[in-house]
Symmetry: C2
Subunit: 200 residues, 2 copies
DNA sequence: CATTTTTGACTGACTAGTTAGTAAGTTCGG
DNA sequence: CCGAACTTACTAACTAGTCAGTCAAAAATG
């Protein structure tokens, strides 16, 4: 499984990414302008255009930047016990957005643009594939170790990610962080009903 | 439980709503302009402004229009058997967007704007409350009739709606209509695990 | 080693295009 | 002939992107 975008950023590029990040959290995606990114960067708009020809190019780079960080954060998981590992993984998927609501809002805006922006679509798709790969691996590992019931790992993975996605969207639309807590409970219930072995 | 917005539309207003609907499906929310709505309406932009002072006002009216239609479509359900009724209800929630992908995309865009637009937020919230009320009523009815196990109806309802929301978002972001089918299966599994009485 | 040249990273001023919204005048049915 | 439903023409604001020129530091040159 290919890791998503091994792209690296120069120090200057990273500062622009950070400026974009701040502008995005402050104004949201719909009201994100080069001018505002430049203001956060502390330079002129032409300075931004010097590094990135178009806004689209910059935003594609930004998605690489932010999704790389996200992937790095879930790759940190060290636990090897399948059951625990699955819990930690779901936690990461649900707690990260909870801790940064403004970014979650902006990311949903960007996700909603995927149908109009192939660069966005590709990056989100690749990220999702990677997350799916990780979750599925944990489940398969659990099945192998007889910790989980012999389920269709792909199917269970997709169900869990649908629950996660639902919680993300609802927390943004209804401005309700408790959706994450609820989703964790739902996922837990779902895991209990499908994965938990009774013989344990 | 208050029914969402009993707002009515004059014939002229309805034509503008239909024009907005077409423009939205064609260009998406981010690229929706008064000019484009006017073009679909077949009149000048000033004609639109004659009926709606601001774009925001028009879009709030449009949300009333489209959410009213949605509510009307789920109020049609006649089945009384709780189990069947729940299935039909979930079907409506999942099949409607499947049959109109362009609108689903635009609606996700609008949902993602809720944090910046109180009028949007209020309408989506009200709509969600109504749907939640309906689903919860079916579940409670099923519990009363001993068709379902004695669960926390509110909790189960929220879980089901999270699954529905997740499927909607994923189908838009990943341009994959099969997410709905999968979500239906997940919901079914979830219902089986939590609601189905073994004694039946 | 001193000087010239090149280059990377910018700035300030600009353009062309688009946007929501306005104002004044026109058309037309009851 | 009045008022509802427009039209045409406009404005002010904002947008991404361009362009010519600046400036310091690195590289090349004599």
């Amino acid at each position: 499984m290919a890791e998503p975008s091994g792209r690296t950023f120069s120090e200057t590029d990273e500062e622009i990414m950070k400026a974009t990040y701040r502008a995005l959290r402050e104004y949201g995606y719909a009201d994100l302008t080069i001018k505002r990114i430049a203001a956060e960067y502390g330079k002129s708009t032409a300075a931004i255009h010097y590094h990135y020809d178009t806004k689209e190019e910059l935003l594609a780079a930004f998605l690489d930047y932010i999704l790389n960080r996200f992937v790095a954060s879930i790759r940190e998981i060290e636990t090897t016990d399948p059951e625990q590992r699955l819990t930690v993984l779901l936690d990461k998927l649900l707690v990260a957005p909870q801790e940064n609501p403004d970014l979650s809002v902006a990311l949903l805006e960007m996700r909603s643009q995927a149908p109009y922006n192939e660069a966005f679509a590709e990056r989100f798709r690749q990220n999702d594939e990677y997350v799916r790969y990780l979750v599925k691996a944990v489940i398969n590992h659990g099945i192998d170790e007889n910790a989980f019931a012999d389920v269709d790992a792909d199917r269970v993975t997709r169900s869990l990610l649908t629950i996660v996605e639902g919680a993300r969207t609802r927390s943004v639309v209804f401005d309700d962080v408790s959706e994450y807590e609820r989703a964790r409970a739902t996922a837990e219930e779902y895991v209990d009903a499908t994965l938990r072995r009774v013989d344990a």
